[in-house]
């Protein structure tokens, strides 16, 4: 049995979710007989890692620092093997713009998009390009911060008048934002464990007003179905697309790929989460359970993969 450091909390906006994920992972690791050292990732992270000298670190951090390669880089430096994807893969996953460029370059389907930094608007007159963008993408347009994990800062612009406010909101979270064509379709999540796709989860909003993005994350406002009831061959196509994205971005261990199945049956890639949520309502554990993998087994597998 090993000494495992569970990294959780941190300073990101998803601190709360991470604390829940982390606590659950700790419980599982203890049941599996490991020695667990819980570390709330703060100013003393490196020192505490050196003190604890764990055999392996379970990264249960979400969002900035924990999911974007920062903590992974530190773990490399300290020489502690860790769960999930490596530094470069985390960087590509955490930045939706980098990920979408990679998808597009590789010929994988992803909704049409444009991305700008704040500087482009402030210093290069990018605002003058907005009408052309709006024409190319059609309304509604989804505006997102490039690097923000949860639903925070995601806005739907229904008309040109909504776009500047939506951009300002997205720039609250990151210096780079994404304007993306809104694709109507079924919202799917494919969790990947050790290079294999788990059963597909479908998110079905209960309310008609699917533009209220934040409301959909309230408890009870969205139903999750797993395995998703997709037609013959569709499940395979969705899973293959997800796996292609996972491989393309160089993921390791586990990840969750979010997609939209458009009206033509094409799975369009939205993003890849390098450290997917592990709370009791999170999608990856649900998918694992649907595949007959208990949470403890899931955590055990992820630890094994980190040490391999």
């Amino acid at each position: 049995m090993s000494r495992v450091a569970v990294l959780k909390g941190g300073r990101s906006l998803e601190r709360n979710v991470s604390l829940t994920s982390g606590a659950r992972v700790q419980d599982a690791l203890e049941r599996l007989g490991h020695e667990v050292v819980a570390i709330d990732a703060g100013h003393d992270l490196v020192a505490r890692l050196r003190d604890a000298a764990p055999d392996v670190a379970f990264v249960a951090l979400h969002g900035r620092d924990g999911e974007d390669g920062t903590v992974q880089e530190l773990l490399e430096l300290v020489g502690v093997p860790y769960t999930g994807s490596g530094v470069s893969s985390c960087i590509r996953c955490a930045d939706k713009v980098l990920a979408k460029h990679a998808f597009r370059d590789a010929g994988l389907p992803t909704p049409d998009f444009f991305a700008f930094s704040e500087a482009a608007f402030k210093q290069l007159g990018a605002a003058d390009a907005l009408p052309a963008i709006e024409e190319r993408l059609d309304f509604p347009i989804v505006v997102k911060p490039a690097r923000q994990g949860s639903a925070l800062g995601i806005k739907f612009a229904r008309s040109a008048a909504d776009v500047p406010g939506a951009l300002v909101a997205a720039f609250s979270y990151d210096g780079k934002v994404l304007l993306e064509r809104h694709v109507r379709g079924r919202e799917l999540a494919v969790s990947v464990l050790d290079g294999e796709a788990l059963p597909v989860v479908e998110a079905i909003p209960r309310d008609e007003d699917f533009f209220d993005f934040e409301a959909r994350y309230e408890i009870g406002r969205t139903d999750y179905v797993c395995p998703a009831e997709l037609g013959d061959g569709v499940t395979e196509r969705v899973q293959e697309t997800a796996l292609a994205a996972y491989r393309l971005l160089g993921c390791r261990g586990f990840a969750r790929v979010d997609l939209i199945l458009d009206a033509a049956g094409v799975p369009q890639l939205l993003e890849v989460n390098a450290v997917p949520g592990l709370t009791e309502t999170s999608l990856l554990p649900q998918a694992a359970e649907a595949a007959g993998i208990t949470f403890d087994e899931l955590v055990g597998r992820v630890i094994e993969l980190a040490r391999a």
């Binding site: 300073r11 500047p164 994350y217 009870g220």
Partner: protein, 450 residues
């Protein structure tokens, strides 16, 4: 694992394990994103203008020790014992003294001592609300009342507020509409004086009309008055209870803001039949409020210096309010406006409607400063470009620095919006604070259409 369980992979920390057991009323509707953001405001390096904490740092430690000693010497057994549900008679006399200070007479038999003012809100709902019953509240309303209302599955209808408090014309129209829809409002919840969160005070004509209206329609008014004695300027107004001749007002008071929230003592003064039901409700909740802190309060009031301490608190808060108002005038862009409270702990700022204060909070937290996004004070998604700022909880330097940081991010976003729309923002320093400040009775607050 030796225990048998239907879900062996699940631990005692898992919500899912108990999910099937939870009552409907536990599904309180708060957006998780907002909750996560608010959790971060508690980091120690953050200057928080988000809280609602009174300042307890100036309460003299030797007085505290002397009072405790006196309790130990004179009423040790009583302090350690259960007390009557309605509260100790000595405490009820203190309550009558506090209410008299605001010109409100009360018979001590009409008083129920509670565990904080918050318990009165809970007991009101427990006593009056069946699932689906309507509570009429202000828009914006006290954010802490919302979980109490929703946990009793009340249907909350919010009525607009302007510089003169709750809009009674809108209230009447709302009551008419509810009647047509055959929906039953049980009570109107208001913080008439130095309202939380907006900082505004209900005018005398509106107070009179509200009390009349309650009698005409036979519905109760819950007058939540935690801040009435924290007045920094202007003439005191009569409480709703003191205007109420027909007994339709339930009054909520608290020791939290005039002494200490740590004693967890508040009270209700209510019509006798309502009070009796609340008493039974309280028996089910906690039998009685803490005898220990009730003895503390009694001994404290007996020392006869509660008004002096209140005076010192008022002086501190007045300076902090003035500091915040000056800082806002210096640091917030001219497109924004805010209320100018004559007392209490909060003011309410309104930004241009294209700004979202929930997103702004995420940006502000990067600068280690926090406020309450306006949406927290509404149940219907309104308040998106508004914020509540507290000036009682931190010192003047921190207020100045906190407002400066918020002003910076607001200004940054206003400028960015200007760039994006091709309409550059007005020069930043357009409105410095005028010498002497605005006249005392000026309250900047947008009048809402509905």
């Amino acid at each position: 694992m030796s225990r048998s369980s239907k879900h062996p992979g699940r631990s005692a920390r898992d919500l899912e394990r108990y999910a099937g057991l939870f009552a409907q009323r536990t599904k309180v509707m708060t957006s998780s994103a907002m909750r996560d953001l608010m959790a971060i405001t508690e980091r120690p390096e953050v200057i928080s203008l988000a809280g609602g904490l009174p300042d307890t740092s100036t309460f003299p430690a030797d007085s505290y020790a002397a009072i405790m000693q006196r309790v130990a010497a004179e009423s040790c057994a009583r302090a350690l014992q259960y007390g009557p549900t309605e509260g100790l008679a000595v405490v009820k006399r203190c309550i009558a003294e506090v209410m008299a200070e605001e010109g409100t007479a009360v018979d001590v038999d009409d008083v129920l001592v509670t565990t904080g003012g918050q318990q009165v809100i809970d007991l009101m709902c427990k006593t009056l609300i069946d699932p689906g019953d309507v509570i009429v509240a202000e828009a914006p309303t006290y954010p802490g009342a919302i979980p109490a209302f929703t946990s009793y599955q009340a249907d909350v209808v919010q009525v607009g507020v302007d510089a003169d408090g709750m809009r009674i014309d809108e209230l009447e129209a709302t009551l008419d509409r509810l009647e047509r829809e055959r929906r039953r409002p049980k009570f109107v919840y208001t913080v008439p004086t130095f309202q939380n969160p907006a900082g505004v005070t209900m005018s005398l004509p509106r107070r009179r009309r509200l009390v009349e209206l309650a009698a005409e329609r036979e519905l109760l008014v819950l007058e939540d008055n935690p801040y009435g004695l924290l007045r920094y300027e202007g003439e005191p107004l009569p409480t709703l209870r003191s205007l109420d001749t027909e007994e339709f007002v339930v009054y909520l008071g608290t020791f939290s803001k005039i002494l200490s929230p740590g004693v967890r003592l508040g009270w209700a003064a209510a019509p006798r039949p309502v009070l009796q039901k609340m008493n039974v409700g309280k028996q089910a909740v906690d039998l009685c409020s803490s005898s220990m802190t009730q003895c503390f309060v009694a001994a404290y009031f007996d020392s006869g210096r509660w008004q002096d301490y209140l005076g010192s608190l008022t002086a501190i808060y007045r300076r902090r309010r003035d500091t915040m108002l000056a800082a806002l005038a210096d640091c917030f862009p001219p497109e924004s406006e805010w209320t100018r409270p004559q007392g209490g702990l909060f003011l309410w700022a309104t930004l241009p409607d294209y700004l979202d204060t929930t997103d702004l909070l995420a940006r502000a937290l990067q600068e280690n400063v926090a406020f309450v996004p306006g949406r927290a004070a509404f149940l219907d998604g309104r308040g998106g470009s508004e914020m509540r700022l507290n000036f009682s909880g931190v010192g003047e330097d921190e207020i100045r620095e906190g407002v400066r940081r918020i002003g910076e991010v607001v200004r940054e976003q206003v400028e960015l919006y200007g760039t994006l729309t091709g309409r550059p923002a007005a020069p930043a320093a357009a409105r410095r604070s005028e010498p002497g400040g605005a006249p005392a009775n000026v309250v900047r607050m947008r009048r809402r259409a509905s």
